[in-house]
């Protein structure tokens, strides 16, 4: 699992993270980045997530007006299609009606660029706060959990048409019926996942 033990010394001993030993890895030389003024303040300590989500929510209001609310799964699906096209070629890809009928590919599909933006923003944030370094899961069990987890997320997104972000921050907040169905599904799924997680940790 993507645990991060040993990165943030201020945290109380999180048995959960430590047990699976995430956060191991090679520290790169990027820790000593000069920081100045207000930027230093933002990048030297952890931000309260409530404040972070308040800012994101207001920005999302503008995005809702411009093009649509925050979502991730759709962009990832488009990337999957483009990757499939690059690896297998156009002819093979279009043997699967999904890519023409359900999900036509468009390189200017805006949702793709939310994901690229998140990657870029997180990279900048991690670099300026000296938190960028390569981390590798240590145990085979972690790799297995991540692999199955990733597969289930991919299948789930395509089956439902939405990911967790659209569930909580787009569909439910627009009071769409699908949102309430999705929230009940994800809560049940997270509960089952938590039971598996507990077993894996021996909590």
């Amino acid at each position: 699992m993507l645990g991060f033990s040993g990165r943030y010394p201020k945290r109380s001993a999180a048995a959960s993270e430590a047990a699976l030993g995430g956060g191991s890895g090679v520290r790169g030389g990027s820790a000593a980045v000069p920081q100045i003024g207000p930027i230093k303040a933002l990048f030297s300590k952890t931000l309260n997530p409530v404040i972070a989500l308040m800012i994101i929510a207001v920005a999302d209001g503008f995005l809702f007006i411009i093009v649509g609310a925050w979502t991730v799964g759709g962009g990832e699906t488009a990337m999957t299609g483009f990757l499939g096209k690059a690896i297998f070629g156009n002819a093979i890809l279009h043997r699967f009606p999904y890519w023409g009928k359900v999900f036509p590919l468009d390189p200017l599909y805006w949702k793709i660029y939310i994901s690229f933006g998140m990657l870029f923003g997180a990279f900048v944030g991690a670099l300026l706060s000296g938190e960028f370094y390569l981390r590798l899961p240590r145990h085979l069990g972690e790799w297995t959990m991540i692999t199955i987890g990733g597969l289930l997320m991919g299948i789930g997104i395509r089956l439902a048409f939405i990911c967790n972000i659209s569930t909580f921050f787009a569909v439910t907040t627009e009071m769409n019926l699908a949102g309430y169905l999705a929230v009940s599904g994800i809560l049940a799924g997270a509960w089952v996942g938590t039971q598996i997680y507990k077993k894996a940790l021996g909590v």
Partner: protein, 210 residues
């Protein structure tokens, strides 16, 4: 707006999200898992506050026909899909946002999760050739189709159109319900704190997948 302007807006929004999520360690997995397992609510509170603000803004937009609400229909696939997703995100220890943010921090495990999300999506696109379900986005007609397990379309705007009551009123009711959850968490945290200072029970640990 033009597609290029949409792309620029999406990238700028994504960048802001990436920085804020990286700096705050907000995590949707932690918001659910840690609340269930450790009674720790650091990310859960952020999730609720974000939802309250967005509910108000989006339903206000829907009231005046401003903005772009999601248009697809609901169905049994919505429940099953998110159920599988819920299991997957707790197993992987990261959701869709978490994986991108952690790849940005240099996490190879997150990159692996992302690759297998793509593999899962591609596997589903192959499976679709056989099951042809759920119905394609373009074929959704906003009506109930019990044979294909589709429950139709409804949101705050359709409620407004049917009842004549502004969508934002329904939105404010939802904000109120979310606020009740938030208050319940604050009370529980106060009890945990009191118990901890009394020396009897530990405070719920600061969870987070970061």
């Amino acid at each position: 707006m033009s597609p290029v302007a949409d792309v620029i807006a999406a990238f700028m929004f994504g960048t802001l999200v990436g920085i804020l999520v990286q700096r705050s360690r907000f995590c949707n997995v932690a918001a659910l898992r840690d609340a269930m397992l450790f009674r720790s609510y650091r990310s859960t509170k952020a999730l609720l506050v974000g939802m309250m603000i967005m509910t108000f803004l989006f339903t206000l937009g829907e009231t005046f026909g401003i903005g772009h609400p999601v248009q697809f229909d609901s169905g049994l696939n919505t429940v099953i899909g998110l159920f599988l997703f819920g299991i997957g995100m707790v197993m992987a220890g990261a959701c869709t946002v978490g994986t991108w943010v952690r790849v940005g921090e240099g996490n190879i495990g997150a990159l692996w999760a992302l690759i297998f999300t793509f593999v899962g999506m591609f596997a589903f696109s192959m499976l679709y050739s056989v099951i042809h379900w759920p119905p394609a986005y373009g074929l959704m007609d906003h009506k109930v189709h019990l044979r294909s397990l589709q429950f139709g379309f409804a949101n705050a705007r359709t409620l407004q159109d049917e009842t004549g009551i502004p969508a934002v009123v329904f939105g404010l009711i939802q904000v109120g319900v979310l606020a009740l959850f938030y208050r319940a968490i604050l009370r529980r945290e106060a009890r945990q704190k009191a118990a901890a200072t009394g020396g009897s029970a530990p405070v719920g640990e600061e969870g987070g997948c970061h």
